[in-house]
Symmetry: C2
Subunit: 345 residues, 2 copies
Amino acid sequence: MVKKESVCIIGSGNWGSAVGKIIGENVLKYPDVFEEEVRQWVFEENYRGEKLTDVINRERENPKYLPGIKFPPNIRAVPNLVEATKSASVLVFVLPHQFVRGVCEEMKGHIAPNARAISLIKGLEILPEKVTLFSEEISRKLGINVASLSGANIADEVAKERFCETTIGCQNKEDGELFHMLFNTDYFKVNVIRDYVGVELCGALKNVVAVGAGISDGLGYGSNTKAAIIRLGLMEMRKFGQTFFGTVEDSTFFESCGVADLITTCSGGRNRKVAEAFVRTGKPIDVLEKELLNGQKLQGTLTAQEVYEFLSPRKMTHEFPLFTTVYRIIYEGAPVESIVRDITL
Amino acid sequence: MVKKESVCIIGSGNWGSAVGKIIGENVLKYPDVFEEEVRQWVFEENYRGEKLTDVINRERENPKYLPGIKFPPNIRAVPNLVEATKSASVLVFVLPHQFVRGVCEEMKGHIAPNARAISLIKGLEILPEKVTLFSEEISRKLGINVASLSGANIADEVAKERFCETTIGCQNKEDGELFHMLFNTDYFKVNVIRDYVGVELCGALKNVVAVGAGISDGLGYGSNTKAAIIRLGLMEMRKFGQTFFGTVEDSTFFESCGVADLITTCSGGRNRKVAEAFVRTGKPIDVLEKELLNGQKLQGTLTAQEVYEFLSPRKMTHEFPLFTTVYRIIYEGAPVESIVRDITL
């Protein structure tokens, strides 16, 4: 008999909690495939005088990051990272990207030999010299295969079991089938494709497009213009992928991680909203981050800057006119109207 | 010296008027290519005691269908169809689809030997036995080449020169270049592709998807769900095209006529709005058409019915679950919640 798969979720924020509920319910559907208990590594914090892990394990709920949503009883919150992950054959990374390196350092040398992972981490590391996917970073650090998951998945709506789709990018066919079992439900429809690079790129670059859409909203330009910005943005996301990662497929942009997530991000979402306020109020982004985001950094403007600093030494900024125009409006004082004047080749 | 192109616009509604302004301005930019005067066939009506053509020619404005927007002086409204079209080498069809047959009958035998046309007509003729594109219908009746134009182009926004894109599908390269000159401006960006069939299909089938999006809005399902419906709709539009018209290209759905027009139609638009009201009020569509559309027929529900009656004898309704579910909810009393339960294969 084949050894059952043992699952550990690394992270317990808003998205990690929503995904924890799905995974906890799904392993119970396949008792021949998965061990019943799912461990979830929770960064220990004090919650109203108690340890957060104790509250989660008692209340079957994460009152800090996903209040009002009950977990199945087979989820166990664990505050020690090595204890949570060491015997797992399936590792689900769902934590803010700034913690990835440290977490991998701590796990290194303590993971099971048959382990593989899936990354739900949002974003990319874009430096002037290179672009790094977090799935590849984890893979390099831990020496294991890493798939990626991204889609039009606002966490609160997923937690309320509102219908949506998601995309898993996974090169290994058997791992892809396993991840499908782990994530797919009636209300959370998983498509597995091979192009994990495209899946991850979409999840980061969409935020730059959403800033552009927000600028257009701030100018009151209407729905033709916004649809054009979204479409041109999708084409630049595709071009960026195909220029710097030759393996990215056209079809990936038709998946939930592509067009659907872009639509969601450009209709609601903080990037769109803050960019709209940038135009309407004339305040700089760092002031708006304090006023509207409690001082948190906006992802889309940061990514626009990183993309610009990556393209610039390569003399390729003009080949990505939307990304470049968003950067110039936000950081170089270019007129906001250039969002429609300067974005076509 | 080559004879100059002579342009006639057939139709003068809201979209025809917006397009008339663009064409009138563009022919003046290329005096070596186009004759200065552009004729516009206007279905003669009484407007406040005067002939509408007289009002248009005096006021340089169509106060009935596009009030507040001035035409360039080289547009001439002509009430007689044969007089307007007989010497034209470029015919622009932009009129409601129910008038296409009659207009072509009247023009037949009276058009110039070098004439070619472009169709901006919305919709398809879908009968149980076959699907007919209006571009092909015109081509057959008049024996000339016919291209098509469609995109995320709400007429009033185009008339106000708000930035957007559009797609022209044209098989003949030289005609494509001519149409680009005729339509492209700084604020109305034209992409010319070969797949005229895909361009026209998108313009009709998007309305069925918008009904689905409106049902989801009526149920309050949020943005993940709506993005999933839009994406699944885009995939069914593609599948319909590739199943019944083998020439339709994947890339067409990335153009303005595809993803961009679908986004616009599913965010604003009467199809989305009436479908939302259908869920919220429980009133049948024909009642809502009276209340919300002054008795005009809703395009998306009609197309859903025609698509169903086309798929049904072919035993293929289950291969287009979103189109089929929209039909069943609107016409067969299926539960509105099936918009998320029954739309994936």
